[in-house]
């Protein structure tokens, strides 16, 4: 089908005789001359930025491993209610018959000091980590994108205000700032992601602002304005889709960062409170038993490591995939 259309198009182009200046002599509008093969080229399926990016991402093994691991973790933890309590144990139920025991196969990751199943807690702990990671980055994104967009698009006083506020946020040591914020809000699951989210916006705003600054210099933005588009339309339709690529990369990596921060805060007792299973809390719980019962720290630690790494690898792959300069 596509071949047929290509040849017809070529015939149509070469049909009319051309005068010296290359204009067709017939009554039709002047047609742009097509190099041979241009018609076939035109028949390729339309490629988009994201389509291209996916093609390149697929070639990046590490990124795909990261993506696969994230998908596995998501599926395991979301389906946990269906199989974990039945075949292993409820994450909060205690079994006083087996305290701190590496009892394979009943408890594949062993039991902790009050007889809870470590495997079950690791699987359920992913819920807290993923939820905090995604919700925190979501909050950062909403704040960062809005403020970054205002800053980059309008410039001037708004820009100064937003960017100086961001500088103030950057000036505080990140971990101390989160702990201080949690001390005010009180430690709980929702306060953890709120705190991490609020503190995450300055980076997103900065990246987005710089991205917008370069995109808005493009002539198609002027063209849209000359066409009568409103500020909102220009922002949402013309600037945003072209400026969002670097944000996707940054946000993906930030999910990993947020998971790590959540684990650290929970480890310090500022985060998710017991008995909710959380990886950071499990490490905290087991830290005095690290030598006699290493399985208590190895498994949740490994879960944090691999999940954070998976998000970072994914982000890294996305960066390469979205970089048009690396197009072959």
């Amino acid at each position: 089908m596509s071949k047929r259309r290509g040849s017809r198009e070529q015939r149509a182009v070469s049909a009319g005789p051309l005068d010296v200046e290359g204009h067709p002599l017939d009554t039709q509008m002047p047609q742009p001359p097509m190099p041979p093969g241009a018609a076939e080229l035109a028949d390729r399926p339309s490629r988009t930025l994201w389509g291209d990016a996916w093609t390149r991402l697929k070639k990046n093994k590490l990124a795909i491993i990261g993506l696969a691991w994230v998908i596995v973790v998501v599926i395991l933890t979301l389906s946990a209610d269906l199989w974990v309590p039945r075949y292993f144990a409820d994450p909060t139920s205690t079994e006083f018959g087996s305290l701190i025991k590496p009892t394979f196969p009943d408890h594949p990751f062993g039991t902790d000091r009050i007889g809870r199943d470590v495997f079950s807690r690791v699987v359920y702990g992913a819920r807290v980590s993923l939820a905090v990671g995604i919700l925190a980055v979501g909050i950062s994104l909403v704040l960062g994108l809005i403020l970054g967009a205002l800053s980059g698009y309008y410039g001037g006083f708004i820009d100064t205000m937003v960017m100086r506020t961001a500088d103030i946020f950057f000036a505080f040591p990140y971990m101390l700032f989160t702990i201080a914020l949690l001390a005010v809000l009180g430690p709980s699951f929702q306060n953890v992601f709120i705190a991490i989210g609020i503190l995450g916006w300055p980076s997103i705003a900065r990246v987005f602002r710089s991205s917008i600054l370069s995109v808005k210099e493009n002539e198609y933005v002027d063209a849209a304005r000359a066409m009568g588009a409103s500020d909102w339309r220009i922002m949402v339709r013309h600037i945003l889709p072209n400026a969002i690529a670097p944000i996707t990369v940054y946000a993906t990596m930030s999910v990993g960062g947020a998971i790590l921060t959540e684990a650290a805060l929970t480890f310090l007792g500022m985060g998710v409170q017991p008995p909710t299973p959380a990886w950071g809390a499990m490490l905290d719980d087991a830290r005095s038993l690290i030598l006699p019962a290493p399985w208590l720290t190895i498994f949740p630690g490994f879960a944090i490591l691999t999940t954070v790494l998976a998000f970072v690898l994914m982000g890294d792959g996305l960066r390469d995939a979205l970089d048009v300069k690396m197009k072959d």
Binding site: Q28, M34, D222
Partner: protein, 339 residues
């Protein structure tokens, strides 16, 4: 009454280095269906003039400080933001210089052409797209229905400029401003694009403001020509007058720097010596005097006014009133004849 009347337009940019007088007292008229060419070197204020007409000057750095832009009885400079948006793209549309960057890479061409129709005519997506296909067909894109679904990077430069023209004309505007529409294109494509514009102008009755530094481009299509230098009008008149009886030494210089085949010129081209002036620090008197071979003392001290020398033909030179001060005397073309 003329379709568009611009009087005493002054646009300035306020930078750290000083005030840039990008457009300094420009007046002209445009009749329906006619073409006005604005000619000048880079930085002479051509594009800023055009952007001022559409109120597209970036505030607060830049501002139209004075003047009137009368579009069919309404002063564009006094319109509300809503009214100005309803005017842009609908009554005055614009084509930009570089077709490679004027189309948004993330949207299909047909969707972008239809955008103006959705904004101004309230069409739905489907109808706007159908109309976009018609427009693409009109500007000579083969297989328009198929190509409308393509992304801009799948179009060649010439096709993109055609698409830009389709986009600009989609709402059937009264005035089309073309800011160096062919500068970024191959010479063969240039001719096609100009021809297309003339043809569409005849069909739709659109008035065109053609901004260019290439006199060759405007020779065929312009009715009126306005020559700008240093943000000021230096010569303004009917195209034939400006081309065949140019009054201002700067216009002579522009014409002399064009390659010509009708003069047996074995010699070199005659470029205007020196650089265009910085618009922050415009030379005293006539802005052109440091580069003008005929400059006298008065040129250094007094700004020449734009004076109508012949009916419908004005020049801003102290000596244009002297019938003996004409282009024939230009030393450089005399040299060329001698060769």
């Amino acid at each position: 009454m003329a379709l568009l009347e611009v009087t005493g337009l002054r646009t300035q940019f306020f930078t750290r280095d000083g005030v840039v007088k990008a457009v300094d007292g420009v007046s002209f008229e445009l009749e329906q269906g006619k073409t006005l060419a604005i000619v000048g070197e880079s930085g002479s204020g051509k594009s800023v003039t055009a952007l001022s007409l559409m109120r597209l000057i970036q505030e607060p750095q830049g501002r139209v400080v004075e003047g009137g832009v009368n579009l069919g009885g309404q002063d564009v400079l006094k319109m509300s933001d809503t009214a100005i948006r309803a005017m842009r793209g609908n009554r005055i549309a614009m084509i930009f210089q570089d077709p490679m960057t004027s189309l948004n890479p993330v949207f299909r061409v047909g969707y972008q052409i239809g955008e103006a129709l959705r904004v101004h005519k309230g069409m739905n997506r489907k109808r706007a797209f159908d109309r976009a296909v018609e427009m693409l067909d009109l500007v000579g894109i083969p297989n328009a229905a198929h190509r409308a679904k393509d992304y801009p990077h799948q179009f060649s430069g010439g096709m993109r400029q055609r698409a830009m023209i389709a986009m600009a004309l989609a709402c059937d505007p009264d005035i089309l401003i073309a800011d160096e529409p062919t500068t970024a294109l191959d010479v063969t494509i240039q001719a096609q694009i100009l021809e297309l514009m003339v043809e569409l102008q005849q069909r739709e009755g659109t008035a065109i403001i053609m901004i260019t530094h290439d006199l060759g481009v405007v020779a065929d299509m312009a009715n009126d020509v306005m020559v700008m230098y240093g943000g000021k009008q230096v010569e303004y008149g009917v195209a034939d007058d400006v081309f065949y009886r140019p009054l201002h030494p700067y216009t002579w210089g522009l014409l002399d720097s064009l390659p010509r085949h009708d003069i047996s010129a074995k010699g070199e081209l005659c470029p205007i010596k020196g650089q265009p002036p910085s618009l922050i620090d415009i030379p005293s008197g006539c802005a052109f005097h440091p580069r003008c071979p005929y400059a006298k003392e008065i040129c250094r001290t007094t700004v020449p006014a734009l004076v109508e020398i012949e009916p419908g033909h004005s020049s801003a030179c102290h000596f244009s009133g002297d019938p003996a001060f004409r282009r024939d005397q230009v030393a450089c073309s005399a040299d060329m004849e001698a060769n």
